[in-house]
């Protein structure tokens, strides 16, 4: 990669495109954020009475320095990561006048993204067939739990319950034990990738054939594709699979082993006889490479229980990163179990720059913060998160007047009647709990009061 130079003047791939993003929670907001990174003008629509749930509550993360401030809904960590670089229009779509604004906006936009339950847009006559009447070239991108048709289409859905239904929980859990929740809303992020894949495909379709199309992502279906190999095993061999914890389904040994320190771990995995021999060498037991009990992969699968304590007896003498480095230097697959602190401070992470620093405007009093960028780099087109998430309704006037050409009187009337706004009509209760208390109650493992110095983001 070093040979090719990035061109800071290179046009962004989606420059000049306008995206309407009526999104909530994780999947679609994050996809819209990525489109903003790629250069699109992304207008996020929320209702003054229906804020994105990442602006408060369980999914919102934390406020800067745990301070909610006067406008907590603009300050949550998760919201600002997901919705980076967007414009905010706070518009009441439950009222007819609000939907008229949306119709006007669809007429002058390239992409319409939404993740309502399928009946909502249909009920408002804003589903794809109707959107096409407003804008014959529009690309529509929808994300729902089960899709707009089929027996489960109207079932309520959320990642936590779907990860069971789409087959992930059946294979996730400690070995031989009950299924376990994966957590972290796993399927939402599959949806994020699928939504950006679908949108970029649709843009290429429009570029080549001059027409838009509708991308219809159902999270359940997408989740099921992640266990496609298990489904094929059932189809061909009537095998259901089992929960194997940290072991590998067909290679041995593999596991997560304890290291020196408090709650420090390193995973180790050997894929073949050569890696096994290298592993035996690193852990000071070269004789085990010749031991008949472990001489082949199938023998190691059979006698896995005998191998685990030998590896753990070695790892416990090293820090997790030292264990990883020693094993990897010998050609053995190994990985330290990194936490959020490591994710920021580990030298590889720092060198790669996955985390990007965004600067908030001074009046927001949030300073600089690092957020996840994108897990891929283009050698010639530099990409960056183009700013933090917008304040609620920050761009109401710009969207309605500059883009849609509404006059001052019309805009003032809409503000007056609450069709647009900049404050939530029903603010969520703010969770006030000190960082120490969060640790005591088990919500956090620990916290670093000096995290800003560590990250180099002091005011």
């Amino acid at each position: 990669m070093g040979i090719e130079q990035q061109d800071p003047e290179a046009p962004l791939p989606l420059a000049g495109l306008r995206v309407i993003d009526i999104s909530n929670v994780f999947s679609l907001p994050y996809a819209g954020g990525m489109l903003a990174d790629l250069g699109a003008e992304v207008i996020k629509i929320e209702g003054p009475g229906r804020l994105d749930v990442s602006r408060g509550g369980a999914f919102s993360g934390v406020y800067p320095d745990n301070e909610p401030g006067d406008d907590p809904w603009n300050r949550t960590s998760t919201f600002n990561l997901l919705n980076r670089g967007k414009k905010s229009l706070a518009l009441d779509l439950r009222r007819h006048e609000g939907r008229e604004v949306l119709r006007d906006l669809i007429r002058v936009s390239d992409v319409l993204m939404e993740n309502f339950t399928p009946r909502v847009m249909r009920g408002w006559e804003l589903d794809y067939p109707h959107a096409l009447k407003l804008n014959p070239n529009v690309i529509m991108v929808s994300c729902s739990g089960y899709g707009p048709h089929g027996p489960y289409s109207q079932y309520p859905a959320q990642a936590t319950t779907q990860e069971a239904t789409h087959g992930l929980a059946h294979v996730t859990g400690y070995r031989g034990e009950e299924p376990s929740k994966a957590g972290q809303s796993f399927v939402d992020f599959l949806a994020t990738w699928a939504l950006v894949m679908g949108t970029t495909l649709a843009l290429r379709y429009r570029h080549r054939f001059g027409k838009g199309l509708w991308v219809d992502v159902a999270m359940y279906q997408l989740g099921c594709t992640m266990v496609a190999d298990r489904i094929l095993d059932w189809e061909a061999n009537k095998r259901l699979g089992e929960r194997i914890g940290n072991r590998h389904p067909w290679l041995a040994p593999q596991g997560c082993y304890v290291c020196a320190g408090d709650d420090q771990w390193c995973v180790v995995s050997a894929h073949d006889d050569a890696e096994w021999a290298a592993l035996c060498g690193v852990i000071g037991h070269p004789e085990l490479a010749q031991d008949a009990r472990f001489a082949s992969n199938s023998a190691r699968m059979q006698n896995h229980d005998a191998i685990d304590p030998v590896i753990a007896a070695w790892t416990v003498g090293f820090s997790k990163t030292e264990a990883m480095e020693r094993l990897q230097d010998a050609g053995v697959r190994a990985g330290a179990v990194f936490n959020a602190r490591d994710m920021h401070l580990d030298p590889h992470a720092k060198a790669r720059g996955l985390l990007e620093t965004v600067q908030f405007p001074p009046e927001r009093e949030i300073g600089k913060r690092s957020i996840i960028g994108r897990p891929w780099r283009l050698s010639k087109t530099p990409l960056h998160a183009r700013g933090p998430g917008p304040m609620l309704g920050e761009h109401n006037r710009e969207v309605l007047q500059d883009i849609l050409g509404y006059d001052d009187a019309r805009y003032a009337a809409m503000e007056q009647s609450g069709i647009v706004g900049t404050r939530p009509t029903h603010p969520r209760p703010v969770l006030r709990m000190s960082m120490d208390e969060r640790v005591e109650r088990g919500r956090l493992e620990s916290w670093d009061p000096d995290y800003k110095e560590r990250l180099g983001i002091e005011d």
Binding site: G150, W234, L378
Partner: protein, 398 residues
């Protein structure tokens, strides 16, 4: 009417092995690209991955290989031989995309890196999918599913505090990496459509998994908080719970009240403040668990899923097995499964369609190739005579 396919103007060379790279290349094929898979003469490692059809470990019968190599033609080529590299250089002159998963620097050592190949083909996009990316101190580290899980940050918050960190089952990191590889390739292609130049796309599997930690990561950069694993004790509401014939999981939220949830379980005592109040519920978790366990011990997964979702509008999931997914009416309604004809396996139904589109949707046009199945056809297409192909075969280059 033949619908146009979105990527049917593209030729893709797939040099990758394993799961993530091959699946990325397949996804390009699903949308119409002509994908040519190049394997070493002994076959790529993915051919040795279970599950196998009828559990026969024949490298032509790996179902994982079949899944990740649909919609491709297959050729063999030994890149380690100078003549093999020379042939690839020729193929790359007309290629639009190369997908590869070698250790960083390997292709450069053969003079086959993007910068070199782009001299003859400035529009070429090369997508590299590797465990830790092309740069940084760990770039030469080997990886796999669990290494990606550990180093990404997700494993530190999976499992319980009294046990070791726990990876998710299956190969989600590698599937997700494939999706990101395809996505980033699309972005590079859109850029090329604008200005004509191709570029090198660097996908790190570690970073793909980290990118799903949207609560965990900024918790640190906003307030210094580090999340850990959950405590094993306490309420199982929101965790997976056994019932008569399997397991279910229920979640508060959506449009339903706590009273509705209590009604679904048919237990009035759940409406008492010690359970109805979220703060008290945390303290009274074990008592609530006992009530719910008792209320569901004679109820089946399917009945509860239907009743909770249709009548009570609750967020409700059941732990479905691969067998359940194989018979799922919702997946049928979404045309999730497609049938292909494999030369040795015969007709087989594969889980295929990730999402739906009103036009240009993914199409399953051919099964995975046997090793070198399309050598004659593909090399002839590149202008090699039958005699030349025979010679290459005799010398072990193809």
């Amino acid at each position: 009417m033949v619908l146009p396919a979105i990527l049917d103007d593209l030729m893709v060379l797939d040099l990758s092995q394993g799961i993530a790279g091959p699946l990325c290349a397949r996804l390009l094929g699903d949308y119409g690209a002509d994908v040519i898979k190049l394997e070493p003469p002994g076959g790529e490692c993915g051919r040795r991955m279970p599950p196998f059809f009828h559990e026969d470990p024949d490298p032509e019968k790996s179902l994982f290989f079949l899944l990740t190599n649909l919609n491709k033609r297959g050729i063999t080529l030994d890149l380690a031989q100078p003549e093999g590299s020379e042939i690839l250089r020729k193929l790359a002159r007309t290629a639009d995309v190369i997908v590869e998963s070698f250790a960083p620097g390997y292709l450069a050592s053969l003079g086959l890196d993007h910068a070199t190949l782009a001299q003859d083909n400035p529009g070429l996009v090369m997508t590299s999918i590797t465990p830790f990316g092309q740069t940084g101190p760990y770039r030469q580290y080997k990886g796999n599913e669990i290494v990606a899980y550990a180093t990404s940050g997700i494993m530190a918050i999976s499992g319980t505090t009294d046990r070791e960190p726990l990876q998710h089952g299956g190969f989600p990191a590698l599937y997700e990496a494939a999706m990101n590889g395809m996505l980033a390739t699309n972005v590079a292609l859109l850029t090329r459509d604008l200005n004509g130049f191709g570029q090198h796309v660097d996908v790190s599997i570690q970073e793909v998994v980290t990118s799903s930690l949207v609560i965990n990561q900024p918790y640190y950069s906003f307030a210094g908080g580090v999340q850990g694993r959950r405590h094993p004790e306490g309420s199982s509401f929101g965790h997976i719970t056994p019932c008569k014939d399997g397991y279910f999981v229920s979640q508060e939220g959506g449009s339903v009240t706590w009273d509705t949830i209590a009604d679904f379980f048919g237990r009035e005592e759940l409406k008492e403040p010690r359970f109805a109040d979220p703060a008290q519920r945390l303290v009274n978790g074990p008592a609530m668990d006992a009530i719910i366990l008792d209320a569901t011990k004679d109820r089946t997964m399917t009945e509860m899923f239907k009743t909770a979702s249709e009548q009570f509008r609750m967020l409700f999931g059941i732990v479905q097995t691969p067998e359940d997914l194989a018979h799922c009416p919702q997946l049928d309604a979404r045309s999730f499964y497609q049938e292909v004809e494999h030369q040795l396996i015969g007709r087989i139904r594969v889980p295929f369609r990730m999402w739906n589109m009103s036009a240009g949707a993914a199409s399953c046009r051919r099964s995975s190739p046997l090793l070198g199945q399309h050598n004659a056809e593909v090399f002839a297409g590149f202008g090699y005579s039958e005699a030349e192909i025979g010679l290459l075969r005799d010398r072990g280059i193809i």
